[in-house]
Symmetry: C2
């Protein structure tokens, strides 16, 4: 800020640390918080502290939860014999939105990326292997992101899983539903051709 008011500058700096928030947006958010009705900014701060205190990883699938198990693992109606492996808790949210997926998840919390210093040991891979060795698992669907790192992570995990005698699959690649072919990149189109099915 051009002129310094310490508590305000500190708040702006805190907002600026958040991903995708630049200096101007941070200023706007800080001033908005200052202008909030009595109690609301306090509720905001409390939500931050509460979430930090009460959210941790599900004992089974490593997704975020406030209980011992996450709502998916807790649900007796879910099919525990199929595990969908994703990189991020947000991926679980995306799958749950389809309202079609009835199996369970395993959240890796990242993907193998030597460039960013992320090694397999930092991901929840051994937790996945332990889950499989515990038995009752028929199939593992690799649903890491369709990026170089996501692919490499899927391949790495598949190599570890196959000796355990469990089926290992990968999400289908292709053109997005509702998309326009003109905007599809050539790699996606190639994959869509390779994966074509009979009508």
């Amino acid at each position: 800020m051009g002129y310094e008011v310490a508590p305000l500058s500190r708040l702006v700096e805190q907002f600026e640390r958040l991903p995708g928030i630049g200096r101007k947006t941070a200023q706007r958010l800080a001033l908005f918080v200052l202008d909030m009705p009595e109690g609301e900014a306090e509720a905001f701060a409390k939500a931050v502290l509460d979430a930090r205190e009460n959210i941790h990883h599900c004992r089974v699938c490593c997704n975020l939860t406030d209980g011992e198990l996450c709502p998916v693992c807790r649900n007796p109606a879910r099919n525990k014999s199929i595990i969908c492996v994703v990189e991020d808790p947000r991926d679980v949210i995306a799958f749950e939105k389809t309202r079609e997926f009835t199996a369970v998840y395993h959240v890796l919390h990242g993907c193998i990326s030597p460039m960013d210093g992320i090694e397999p040991e930092q991901l929840k891979i051994k937790e996945l292997l332990r889950r499989i060795s515990d038995g009752g698992v028929d199939e593992v669907i690799m649903a890491t992101n369709p990026t170089v790192e996501g692919e490499a992570t899927a391949m790495y995990i598949a190599r570890l899983i196959k000796p355990l005698g469990v089926k290992c699959t990968r999400l289908a690649y292709g053109i997005p539903v509702g998309g326009d072919l003109v905007y599809a990149d050539e790699v996606t189109l190639k994959r869509a051709i390779d994966g074509r099915s009979e009508l």
Copy 2:
């Protein structure tokens, strides 16, 4: 969220209340906060509470400050005889960035906008008039936004100030420096022609 973890949903909702933050960004920010190193999320929450507790309006110019006076009003080097009237604390930051403006400010905290239910009484106009009646003011520069509401606010305040025998001016309109004439709208161009000066 597709699946419910109460402390996380609450945090996402809190982020979603901020201006310009949609559901997906709110999710991203909430998960980022959960992933922050020990102590940093707590520092974030503390900055919110601190700012709310310690920031209030400057007794003289109504800008935001943590003291009785804001840094500008406190500064003995500033020319107190010229007051620049702005709508928002962020406008002060913008003026201060020029490093050329040596007078003082008055922050209205909004502009007259009957459509949004904002009446003159809700702005810091009487504080401005009191400041002028206290004496020592030679000029008031109206620097409200170049919008219909900003203009109306400037005209309204100018009518109140003129009887007090104080010079009342308005920021110049024209083409922005470094801009391209092609992209200037017709109203701005018309104002730039009207306000042309001799070379």
